[in-house]
């Protein structure tokens, strides 16, 4: 999976963040720059060029590291502002 993104990055010349939505149950983000809000209905976090807002139900942070986030739960909307 990450080799695939590596290949795309080399072609498209982007290198800020990656976001993967797996069946609207898990979102994996690389390149996060800080958590903004945390609740069971909404989680938002910063990336290089904006803010991602994830709405849903029973949301939780399955993993939080220096620059990755895994959001688990029932995801209804992912918004980039």
């Amino acid at each position: 999976m990450f080799n695939f993104f590596g290949e795309i990055k080399s072609k498209v010349d982007v290198d800020s963040f990656h976001i993967i939505n797996i069946s609207n149950k898990l979102i994996y983000i690389e390149g996060q720059r800080g958590l903004l809000t945390l609740s069971t209905e909404q989680i938002s976090f910063k990336v290089k060029s904006g803010v991602f807002i994830v709405d849903g139900q029973n949301l939780s942070l399955a993993e939080l590291t220096e620059n990755t986030i895994k959001i688990a739960g029932k995801i209804k909307k992912v918004e980039f502002v």
Partner: protein, 374 residues
């Protein structure tokens, strides 16, 4: 799958900012906001203490803490006093009993029993296994057991392994160590001992029950060893049959006259009687009683009585007239008792006369093999 994590329940404001700061140093898992100011999160077991310190330094309060996974469970066991004491005791016991031999393994024994050898070794070896001299053990085994031809000893862990090879001993060494006794009175003609020691010599007179062969032998060192007796012993023995003759004797015999009487009785009372009166001076009575009724309510008995007249006469005869008959009679008596003889060597008789009475003693001399095992 992690080996172990610690779950913290935290309370406070600005949790997102603090989590951002902490996430730069630690990986945080399963963060869930329970209420406005309360969240739960998990970190690895190995960094839990440092993380907790960081959380409290950041201004958040740790409300609860819970260990998850196998590793915390194992560590809790290993930190329990009872477990550590038991472990220490096991090591102490192991250290104490390791130098000693506790098991014996015997290989190669056939006639010797393992119990016998192990019992002997246990009584003979009292030193720690590092001090056991295998040569010493081999020597004492050779000395104790004659059956051992070769033995080798090794100490393997806590086991003393004894590998023996037994001598090929003849069958007489094992078995029933009973002596041979004589079943007859007589004279020893031959004695050939295969195993055992002879208790008699040729020409000795023995009685029934006397010991003929002993069930042991004595080696060059004067040591006695039990052995199964095997020997051939031949005895000259004899039997005597007697017959007595009287020159005058009274012979009682029937005259041929007879009276028959019939009686019917009930409870001992004669109800009916028929027959002649008995007027014989000398007689013999033969009665036959029959009970009529099958049950004993009325025990009617029928008695048939036969009365035979007897007479006595004095019969005179001389010994010479009856000699053949008398000697033959004595011989028959002697032969009855000598039926088991292997051979009959000689026969003779003696006569003793006294006051008109002659006693003939007929002797049969024979040979009998009382033991024959080769």
């Amino acid at each position: 799958m992690s080996l172990g994590r610690v779950q913290f329940q935290i309370k406070g404001l600005n949790q997102e900012k603090i989590l951002n700061k902490l996430s730069k140093k630690y990986n945080i898992y399963n963060i869930l906001r329970l209420e406005k100011q309360i969240s739960v999160l998990e970190v690895s077991f190995f960094i839990a203490n440092k993380f907790k310190k960081s959380i409290t330094e950041s201004g958040l309060e740790v409300i609860a803490e819970k260990s998850i996974g196998i590793l915390p469970y194992l560590l809790s066991i290993f930190s329990s006093v009872g477990f550590l004491l038991g472990l220490a005791l096991s090591f102490v016991l192991l250290a104490i009993q390791t130098p000693f031999v506790f098991q014996y393994e015997i290989v190669g024994n056939e006639s010797l029993s393992k119990t016998e050898i192990v019992g002997f070794l246990k009584s003979a070896i009292h030193t720690p296994k590092t001090d056991i001299s295998t040569e010493f053990v081999e020597d004492i085994l050779y000395e104790k057991f004659d059956e051992i031809s070769f033995v080798s000893i090794i100490v393997k862990g806590k086991t003393l392994v004894v590998n023996i090879k037994e001598k090929l001993m003849p069958d007489e060494i094992y078995g029933d160590f009973t002596p041979i006794f004589s079943n007859y009175d007589g004279k020893v003609l031959e004695i050939n001992v295969v195993s055992g020691i002879s208790a008699v010599d040729v020409g000795d007179y023995v009685f029934k029950g006397d010991l003929l062969v002993k069930p042991y032998y004595i080696d060059a060192e004067g040591k006695k060893h039990n052995i199964q007796t095997k020997a051939t012993v031949k005895l000259e023995t004899y039997t005597i049959g007697t017959s007595t003759f009287c020159e005058e004797k009274i012979v009682t015999e029937h005259t041929g006259n007879m009276i028959v009487q019939n009686e019917i009785s009930l409870f001992g009372l004669n109800l009916y009687k028929h027959g002649e009166e008995n007027n014989y001076a000398m007689y013999e009575v033969v009665e036959d009683v029959t009970t009529f009724s099958k049950n004993l309510i009325l025990p009617l008995r029928f008695t048939k009585r036969c009365i035979y007249e007897l007479k006595q006469e004095i019969v005179k005869a001389t010994y010479e007239e009856k000699e053949e008959e008398i000697v033959d009679d004595a011989r028959k008596n002697a032969l009855e008792n000598s039926a088991n003889y292997d051979t009959i060597k000689n026969e003779f008789y003696t006569v003793k006369h006294s006051c008109g009475i002659s006693v003939v003693s007929y002797v049969i001399v024979g040979e009998k093999v009382v033991a024959n095992e080769s």
